[in-house]
């Protein structure tokens, strides 16, 4: 099997597995006063320190959550008071946990201002400047898009938000570790462990400045009251270990992505949606004209290649990708999208074999329909 869906999730790295196995022995409640509790607390805070150092933030900035979706929900619901007609400025192609949180806030009275994006999925800082108004309380722009891979200039957006006195949230779930280990300079940043090879079920909302943030959950003082609930010590240990391993693996290069594109480029009717520059190094979103992405994904699965039509959070909905639609593609082309996303463990040989299999499968799929077309279609 060739696994090329790392943007959905990644296999658990050995160091994360080891760290979690060790942390399992510390069964105490990290908030308890006795020795077992203190030992669990030490593991948790050690993980927080490691993660903070790797990410270039302060330990106190890190609030552990259950993952990216919770972090995105917490950032939006925590900063916006719906009834007061607060406005959120956001990008329409960001992850559904941002977009749908915003829509829910809109139903409760908040105002949304959607940013224009170009065909490559880029948000211009000037457009953000223009969109901010008196009532804007939050700007949310993802660091790197999970489907098309486009990386935003978060530094420029962060600076202008600070000038205008508006909080800036960035969903860095895909960017963390692939763009850089150093988080962008946003006020609120969402990250998650499992995209890095850590465990599922833990992430963080990083709060770099004293942005006013109300918690989503109530009933405890854990995580400084931002996120009540017994701490996920094992998860935190795995998260930090995966982040350390990701840092030690060094910077990514575009080599495998471009190697895959060179293999796919000769296929008739292939279209590359992912930009060639300012794009996640592991992500290639393409379409094969006339073939639905969901059928290509199924056909490749039958040949042992695991890819996706886009976000797993939208997979199975049958909806054409909201990302491509936001970029101006029509439904027909948006339905063709197939996302290949490689990981640290992906080899050049796997990429070459995947490229060959894709070429074969696409050719076979096209050929399968030809006799029927010649005969006027199956009745």
């Amino acid at each position: 099997m060739i696994y090329l869906d790392y943007n959905a999730t990644a296999p658990l790295l050995q160091p994360a597995r080891d760290a979690m196995a060790a942390a399992q022995d510390e069964f105490g409640n990290a908030s308890s006063a006795y020795a077992q509790g203190r030992r669990a607390r030490a593991v948790l805070e050690g993980a927080r320190r490691d993660l903070a150092e790797i990410a270039g933030v302060q330990p106190r900035d890190i609030c552990f959550t259950s993952g990216g979706t919770e972090s995105n929900n917490a950032a939006l619901f925590g900063t916006i008071e719906p009834a007061s007609a607060h406005e959120i400025v956001l990008a329409p192609h960001d992850h559904s946990s941002v977009v749908e949180s915003a829509r829910e806030l809109e139903r409760r009275g908040a105002k949304l201002r959607w940013l224009p994006v170009d065909a490559a999925g880029r948000v211009a800082a000037a457009a953000v400047a223009e969109a901010i108004s008196e009532s804007t309380r939050l700007v949310s722009v993802g660091w790197a898009n999970n489907e098309i891979g486009t990386i935003q200039d978060c530094q420029a957006i962060a600076e202008l938000c600070r000038d205008r006195g508006v909080a800036f949230h960035s969903d860095a779930v895909q960017g963390f570790g692939k763009v850089s280990m150093q988080l962008p300079d946003a006020d609120l940043i969402s990250i998650t462990a499992h995209k890095l090879g850590g465990p599922k079920g833990i992430g963080a909302l990083v709060r770099r400045r004293d942005v006013e943030l109300r918690p989503l959950l109530f009933g405890g003082s854990q995580e400084r009251g931002w996120r009540p609930g017994t701490e996920n010590v094992v998860g935190a240990a795995g998260f930090a270990a995966a982040a350390l391993a990701a840092r030690d693996a060094g910077a990514w290069t575009d080599a495998l992505r471009e190697r895959l594109w060179r293999a796919l480029e000769p296929i008739a009717g292939v279209e590359r949606y992912s930009p060639a520059a300012n794009c996640l190094p592991n992500t290639l979103l393409v379409g094969f004209a006339g073939l639905r992405g969901e059928s290509v994904v199924a056909a490749l699965d039958l040949e042992g290649v695991a890819v996706s039509v886009g976000s797993a959070c939208a997979a199975g909905s049958g909806e054409p990708s909201h990302v491509l639609r936001a970029l101006g593609y029509d439904d027909e082309r948006a339905r063709c999208a197939v996302r290949f996303s490689s990981g640290r463990a992906t080899t050049a040989d796997e990429i070459d074999r995947a490229g060959e299999i894709v070429a074969t499968v696409v050719a076979r799929m096209r050929a399968a329909l030809e006799p029927a077309a010649a005969a006027g279609g199956a009745a």
């Binding site: 056909a299 799929m365 399968a368 029927a372």
Partner: protein, 367 residues
Amino acid sequence: MSRRGRVVVAMSGGVDSSVSAALLVDQGYDVVGVAMRLWEDAESESGCCSLDDFLDARLVAEKLDIPFYVMDFREEFRATVVANFVREYRQGRTPNPCVRCNHSVKFASFWDRARELGAEWIATGHYARRRDGAAGAELWRGVDPDKDQSYFLFSMGREALARTIFPVGHMQKDEVRAEAERLGLPVASKPDSQEICFAPRGTHAAFVEAQSSALPIRPGVVVDQDGTEIGRHDGVHRFTIGQRRGLGISSDRPLYVTDIDPVGGVVRVGDAAAVGCAGLSASEAEWLGEPPPVGAAVRIKIRSRFEPQSAVITSIAGDRFQVASDRLKAVAPGQAAVVYDGERVLGGGWIESGVAARLADAGEVAV
């Protein structure tokens, strides 16, 4: 690769398609399950195409250890089946969306997608049989007379038929349930669905109304056989030929709908004798092989709950045909008229009109 080739099974999460998949696995096929997403009711967690059904199908696929995918056919379904359903009711006709779906979606789009997955065969849980005769594939009734679904398949086309497997067509329903039980399939006791998947029983009028915002529905009048107004109604889409209930008219004898005029909004009612027909004419004929010759003695089935009746083909011209039969009642335009030779489906068409008993001899029926 398996010795019998790859088959894509349409899995609904129901017992028939689940057992179909299981039987094909047993027979040595390389089985792939696909759930067809046809329609969605944003509110519903249960019912056709619901999350629950897909979950059931997924559980069965997991149990059988076969690949399983949900595929989206909502666009085709809406554009063909649902659009036809609404249009037909609004024209005072009585549609059969299941036949349309088989024609336009299951044995067309689904077959295309199956071939994209490298399938040599497709399979469904229909109670019908395919036999490979000297002149090509033949469609036969399912052996369980209560469950036979061959009526719904008349227009599937011979090319698709030749590549279709109906694994439960030779079984009785209780045998299918017993097989599901034996295999430990989690859907063994799931109730049958006998409803139109997007408009459950009793809701078709409201559905048509909800889908008709662009072209509002007009009320009209109910008249007797002489044309005298005896009541009013909220739209012709609420009626079907032969309908007795829900007419909103009090009468000392049973009244049935005999004619529907969508242009004038007139629904005509009469007594039981007035719904008798001497035959029917049909259009959009599809034959699974050579059409029967004029004069052929056949059997005809004019709605899903109707035992095929003896009839004679009286004309075949282009994609239209007529039959004569003295055993037809409540012939509803828009329903499928399926022609059988014994247990075998020869083909069929869509009912344009019944041939009124009193006019039949005079040959006054325009086809």
